[in-house]
Symmetry: C2
Subunit: 191 residues, 2 copies
């Protein structure tokens, strides 16, 4: 892995652990095993490096979600697979956490990938729900957009509750709870 790649990876880890404000260039360099010169040679500064890190993390999150949502199975099964996918719950969502970082939200460049990723996720989930609604899998009255927002919020909020309590249990409960509610809107999918 090149020095530039190591810098981006270290930045991704630290942004996840400590956020943008809580991450110093010095900490990044220490973790990457690089000197100041390397960083300022490959990137213009902390913001530029964070931008590369956030973009990569956003792309990964999107690809991981797409893998579940466009996989095999009914709409219900794909939604369930996505929500129930194994996650590092106590570490939280590497994109969602940036939402709490005032310096990220105040910078249009840093903010854009965060906004796009979460907006895309809601929209993509709504598509799958709509699919299931069209095929008679879900009740016709189901509001795909509102339900999609509720599902993504259950995940994001589940992370918050889990971190607060220091246990994965609340996350699992939130996912179980929202899926149980959704099941009431499910008609028998047939085969």
């Amino acid at each position: 892995m090149s020095t530039a790649d190591r810098l981006v990876e270290s930045t991704r880890e630290l942004l996840w652990e400590r956020g943008y404000t809580g991450t110093s260039p010095k900490a990044i360099l220490r973790r990457a095993g690089a000197g100041q010169g390397s960083m300022y040679h490959h990137f213009t500064g902390k913001q530029d490096l964070a931008l590369a890190a956030i973009r990569r993390t956003a792309a990964e999150l999107r690809a991981a979600a797409e893998a579940q949502l466009s996989g095999p199975g009914t709409a219900q099964e794909r939604v369930t697979a996505y929500l129930r996918r194994e996650r590092p719950v106590l570490r939280g969502c590497p994109i969602g956490r940036l939402t709490q970082d005032p310096d990220v939200m105040a910078d249009p460049e840093l903010r854009a990938p965060v906004e796009e990723t979460l907006d895309w996720l809601r929209e993509r989930l709504a598509e799958v729900l709509d699919e299931g609604r069209g095929s008679g899998e879900f009740a016709a009255a189901l509001d795909a957009r509102a339900t999609a927002a509720a599902l993504v919020a259950a995940l994001q909020g589940g992370y918050v509750l889990a971190r607060a309590s220091g246990s994965e249990a609340p996350f699992d409960q939130a996912v179980t709870g929202v899926l149980a509610l959704l099941a009431a809107h499910t008609t028998d999918p047939g085969t």
Copy 2:
């Protein structure tokens, strides 16, 4: 308002806006219109001041929730009233946001009120749901704890989505979505 109170209020605002790591004593003093001497006279330092601020915010959140949840109406109505209560959505949850602050979570004293508040909220909501289940308002099969977790997560996650998109819409959608799902588990409450 005393100087000590102004310091606590300024700290509450800044913790909400910028988090613990992103808030410096200097910024607190500027906002409170006080000098360094005042702060270190009334408090031992940043951590002590933050502790007072977090405790007060936690108490307020709890009182506000209790007002809705122990108010008049059916369980369904009280839950709806709590979820639909007017909120400063784009500012986020002043307690939930601390969950993303590594320095808060690493400090047992600062962390305790965050953990207690969110744990209490889930439990209190579960009680109301159980009440409604007992009175036949909700389906007997409803898992009160899981549903409570899903509802609180919808709020906390709704904040995240709203901040990401820069609009209150995703928050409202998440609340609408989860309440619509819950409605399917509702039997006619009668009178």
